[in-house]
């Protein structure tokens, strides 16, 4: 069984087609990077896969369950770290974790929070209000919160956007620790991030999923030495 399987996944906003009939399979435990230029349809795809918006056409199965019919069950087993910081600003880091544990009705709440505090080394900021944290810490907390319900599938929407190089590398380490245990779908604009972290990459352009493969496969297909050039070539259809 695939973690995610889509058939002809389509999203239209009035006349505009944001996502155009995507067929995609993602294996359990895989880290799949979804790349594309601005407006390529990555975030809309993630929103459909994560039950936030309904597809206009096509179907999505999450661990065999239909995203429309079984959305309530699916919501229990996935989580997301959205593009913008999605934490309660006046709550401390611990209170944010407790709040989301309450949202998911986690039975052994304290143990789960302790585990996340250790994994993300959140001790030093635990009592600090979320709004006073640096961008790097806020992203870390955002991902920690997304793991509160032990999701089987985790969506990371541009998790390192705007972070300095050290904060970014620290987050990579955290994401690497999660690899294999959870199916992760990552969107990013940083090619080195996709190359370093992902098992496979999907490239989107103008709503289409134009290619899927490992970074090595995509470099070979595009006949380029580095992944950034391969991405540009594939995403633009060889125009650049």
């Amino acid at each position: 069984m695939y973690a995610i399987e889509t058939k002809n996944l389509t999203k239209k906003f009035k006349e505009k087609t944001a996502v155009n009939g995507i067929d995609l399979t993602i294996n359990e435990g895989e880290l799949f990077a979804l790349l594309g230029t601005n407006g390529a349809g990555k975030t809309t795809t993630i929103k459909m896969l994560s039950t936030l918006i309904l597809p206009t056409d096509g179907e999505v199965k999450i661990l065999g369950m239909d995203v429309v019919k079984d959305s309530q069950k699916i919501k229990e087993i996935l989580n997301v770290s959205p593009q913008k910081t999605a934490i309660a600003p006046n709550l401390s880091v611990k209170e944010n974790l407790e709040f989301m544990a309450g949202v998911y009705q986690i039975p052994n709440k304290e143990a789960k929070i302790d585990e996340l505090v250790k994994l993300f080394k959140l001790d030093e900021v635990l009592k600090q209000k979320a709004k006073t944290l640096s961008g790097g810490w806020q992203r870390k907390v955002s991902i920690a919160i997304a793991l509160i319900n032990e999701p089987k599938i985790l969506f990371l929407d541009e998790p390192t956007l705007g972070l300095d190089v050290i904060a970014r590398k620290e987050l990579w380490k955290v994401i690497e620790k999660l690899k294999g245990n959870i199916t992760i779908i990552l969107t990013t604009h940083y090619m080195e991030e996709a190359e370093s972290l992902s098992d496979r990459v999907g490239i989107m352009a103008k709503g289409d999923l134009v290619d899927v493969g490992t970074t090595e496969e995509l470099k070979t297909k595009a006949s380029t030495d580095n992944f950034e050039d391969a991405f540009v070539k594939i995403a633009t259809g060889g125009e650049l």
Binding site: P82, T85, G102, V103, Q105
Partner: protein, 243 residues
């Protein structure tokens, strides 16, 4: 349980913003105190008439907080995270409402204590008025959720200020609705704020004769419509924000 959890979070968010406390509690208390120092020759400013007005005036800041909280949650993407969680729309609305109820109770207790200190005679009807005012506050919370669902953070404070001004001018707290002519009176009678003040005033003073059928019907129609509208608009905006 999810509703209580969400309400707890909302409550903490509101009380940790010191401006909230200043506007919702200290400003109305100051107004209640200061207007009693001038001996203004108008029945409107007598404690038994003015205190219910101050209670409703205090609720307009509740509209402001509710609006700011909802719009902040929208812009911070917290609602995207919650939209993916198993929380349902009704749990959001109830969570926002429950969070604000303790603030309303605190407001009421302080307003009535000050009024008693300033000379309002205590009676059991004050407690009845406090209970009824909690029901009245639902209208103002729902208005806040609607404003916060459709407007940005800055827009929310602007639109809420309009509600604050409307309450000042049309509730009859500062001057009677007849003071500015028939047209103005008609506007006051079409809006729910004068009814809110009259209902609390009538119950507090054990003078329910002043509460007309129009007051009761108008209040309930506005409140029910606002609650339904808040749920519908919030859900709709939550989806459209995520497109």
């Amino acid at each position: 349980m999810r509703t209580i959890n969400f309400a707890k979070r909302n409550f903490k968010e509101i009380i940790r913003d010191p401006l909230s406390i200043i506007f919702a509690i200290i400003l109305p208390l100051f107004l209640l105190f200061i207007f009693q120092q001038f001996n203004i020759p108008s029945e409107n400013y007598e404690l038994h008439n003015f205190t219910p007005g101050i209670v409703v005036f205090g609720f307009t800041f509740i509209t402001l907080f509710s609006a700011m909280l909802v719009s902040k949650d929208r812009t911070s993407s917290l609602l995207i995270r919650l939209g993916i969680s198993p929380m349902k729309s009704i749990e959001y609305i109830l969570g926002y409402m429950l969070a604000i109820l303790p603030i309303i109770v605190i407001q009421n207790i302080l307003f009535f204590i000050l009024a008693i200190v300033l000379g309002l005679e205590f009676s059991v009807h004050i407690i009845f008025a406090m209970l009824v005012s909690i029901v009245v506050a639902i209208l103002f919370i729902a208005l806040g959720i609607i404003i916060g669902s459709v407007a940005s953070e800055k827009g929310s404070s602007g639109i809420s200020s309009v509600i604050i001004q409307l309450v000042c001018f049309t509730s009859g707290m500062y001057f009677p609705k007849e003071a500015l002519g028939k047209g103005f009176r008609f506007i006051c009678e079409c809006l729910p704020f004068e009814s809110c003040v009259t209902i609390i005033r009538g119950i507090m003073n054990n003078n329910t004769d002043i509460i007309s059928g129009r007051n009761v019907v108008l209040f309930f129609v506005y409140t029910i419509a606002a609650v339904i509208c808040s749920a519908v608009v919030f859900k709709k905006k939550m989806i459209s924000d995520n497109k």
